[in-house]
Structures are given as structure tokens and as C-alpha cells.
Amino acid sequence: MNGAMDSGRERGQHSGDDGNEVGGAGPGRERGQHREDELNAPRTVDDATRVAAYVDDEMDEAERARFEARLAEDATLGAAVARERRLRARLAQAFDPVLAEPVPERLSALFANRESDTEPALAAAPAPSVNPHTKPDTKPIDLDEERRRRRGGWLAWGGMAASLALGVLIGTTWLAPRGALEVAADGGWLAEGALAQALDAQLSGAAAPGSSTRVGLSFVSRDGRYCRAFTVGGADAGGATAGLACRGDDAWRVRQLATITAGSASASPTASTSAASEAFRMAASPWPQALLDDMDRLREGDPLSSADERDAMRRDWRR
């Protein structure tokens, strides 16, 4: 999907439709031999653009393959790529810690204050976030307590659940001691260890040897991220845990976990059953209804095919 844009860039947009800005560099520029070289040697400009496109993940597969072939043989190009990556790493080092800071009350309160406004909408929603009928079947680890504490409750069902409340549960779920989860800087949960590996590299429906993690299916969320539903463990461990993780910037953020209780068959289909739910029901595990509902609300389009998944893996699940 980046193809058109990339070829456009390679045709010279780099200096073309922004020509008025190209000359606006600082005093060092006029002196810089480097810049003159660039202007006199289009090939260098193209390469600078390609290096950026490569590091910024803006190449289509063919461009990437061509570039990587050159990269293997051209140390100068390799150094340029490394330099780009160093800059990114320094920016991440400087700014990513902000993600770990608690969100100030005055910001989270912007949402909390509106709960009273939104209650009627909740009541009127055709597909309520919490399906009371499925409560007996599953035990969503999703924070009834937090919802009571916050009175309104919609937060607990959105992505915010992770950052507000899951941290409280981390000692009580058996996933954490197994190194499958880690608390993110912002208080959310990140997939770790075997779970992260499975989410990164396991095709849906495939069981990796020695891994108790299975990925059920993948889809693209409405906010443009890859999301994958998974199960960890089995009945012997006191029930498997099912979860839903969406790809964040560099990690899988776990947005929901639900215990699959022993003997809970798949929840009976509801009127809102969709293609995604159907796909889930094909899988071996009985997926908690709360998770299916969450997924149906979240997803955009059909579940990914294996080919789509492989393609996503090649791009490190970045879109």
C-alpha cells in the first residue's frame, strides 16, 4: 500500500514539490560540501531518500528487497542506515519514558467528568459492552472492581482498561509469574516472553512445539493496528486464559484477558454474531463471549488470511 507513494517519492518529490523549503537550511549548509554533492549528484539524493524510506518502513516489498541487496554490499549505505537508526533510538530514549508516566488526573478527568453525559448512550447501544447473559459462562478478568470504583464503567471496556486497571491484577493472574506480561510504562500490559514470541511469529491456528500459546486469529482494528486473539495454557493450569492483544509501537499491548473456565462451552451464539465470532468458534478453544464482543467492536473487515499474516510478520506487524 506504500508502493504508489514510494515511487512518487523516488521520482523526486524529495526536492520537487517542496522546493521553496530546500534552500532554507541553516548557515552550516551553505558551507557544507555535503549538500553541494547532493545537489550535483542526484543519485546521492535518491539514496538519502531511500535510506530514510527504508528505516521509516515506507518501502514496498520490491523496493525493500532491492535496497537490502545493495545494503549487503555497500558499507556506506549500511552506515547511513545505522545513523538513521541511532537518531530514532535517541528520540525514543528521550520521549518514550513519557508513556510510563501516570496520566495526570486533570487529563483522565476530562473523560470521567463526561460519564453522566454518556450513560444514556450506553443504555441505548445496540451491542452493550457488557453482555450480562454471558457472565455465568466466563470470568472476564476485566476489572469489575475498577468499574465500580469509577462509577461509569465504560473505561474498563475500552483500551483504557489496560492502563487503568490491569496492573492491579497482575499479581493475581497466573500469566504474570510466567513472564508473559509486563507492565508498560503507562500502566498497560505488554506481552512478554513466549506470549510475545507467539504473537510475533505464530500463524493463527498453528501450534508451535513446546508452546502453550495459540493464536486464534488476527485482524486489523478500526484504529489501524494489527490485533490478535490468543489463548495461553490449558485446563491443567486451572483453565486457559484467552486474551486480545493489539500491536503498539514496539510491543503487543494486551487489552483484555478472560479466564476460560473448565467446561464452559462456547457461549451460545447471539444475534450479533459476526464473521469474526464464527471464525473463532471454529477454533478448538471456547472463546469467552466478552472477548468475542470486544473483537467484533474493534475489528475492521475480515480476519487476516495466513498470507496476510505472513506479510504482516515481515513488516514486524507495523502498518
Binding site: P27, A48, A80, L91, E101, L107, G158
Partner: protein, 165 residues
Amino acid sequence: MSILELQSALAALLPRLRRFARSLTHHREDADDLVQVAVERALRALDQYEPGTRLDSWMFRIMKNAWIDEQRARGRRAEVLAPEEAGEHVGVSETGRHIARLSVQAAMARLPEEQRLVVSLVLVEGLPYKEAAAVLEVPIGTVTSRLARAKDTLQQLLGDGDIDA
């Protein structure tokens, strides 16, 4: 997406919105002020969000507009208070190579506003060029050229100059 889901998705974006704001201004209170203003605007305009588009991009666009408004107001104040700093945001000075190792925040602060925005969107927030262009309401070529210049400046200010330097 229902209003509820939108609000919930917005709330989940708060940590990223704060990171974005802090890359624009390293002053913590200013950054959170920006997030607050933008979230308030967004909550009043939820019906203007187009389903199927990226919510983070939508928020970043609102933040960008709020930030530019703020910069304009601040610029007027700054003219009154500190005229000598008006020309400060030159990229690389003649002694650029000798200003080794500014902090990342200080280096970012020296970028022209429009370049800093691109760096924040693409290099900090990881937006594809196309999304960054939509947020900034400029052509993709403008994004790539601003980015290229910003990176040159940052690399020099951070003491990671030209590879052949």
C-alpha cells in the same frame, strides 16, 4: 464506532498524546496543557471524526492546530518579552559541529516548528509519511523534505554528524 467507544479509544491514546506533546515542548505543564486543550476540542467534535480513519492521526491533527494557535499567541508574547531570541531556531550554526551533544530535547527545541512537528509525528510517534502528511495538511513530499532537513540538523546537534565528517 459509537461515541462511547470513541471516548474510550481516545482515553487510551492519552499516554501517546502526552508523548507527542512533550516532543513538541519539553516543558511538562505546557505539554499537558496542550493535551488538555486538544482533548477538550476533540470531545466536543467527536461527530467530526471519520470512521475508518486513524483516530491517533485525527487527534494529532487537533493537537497540531491547538499547538500552532498556542505558538502564535506565544510568539506575540515572546516578541514583547524576549526579542533577542527571535532568531534562535537556526538549524546548524557555523560552530554546529562543536556544539557536541546537546540533549535531545534541546536539539528538538532548535528545530523550526514545522520540522519539529514532522519529527514528532514520524520519528517519535511512528506515523507513516502519508498519515503525517494528512495530519499536517501538506503533500507527502513536504513531509519527506522537512524530515530530511530536520534529521540533518538533529544529527549534527546531537554530535552524530555526517558519516564522512
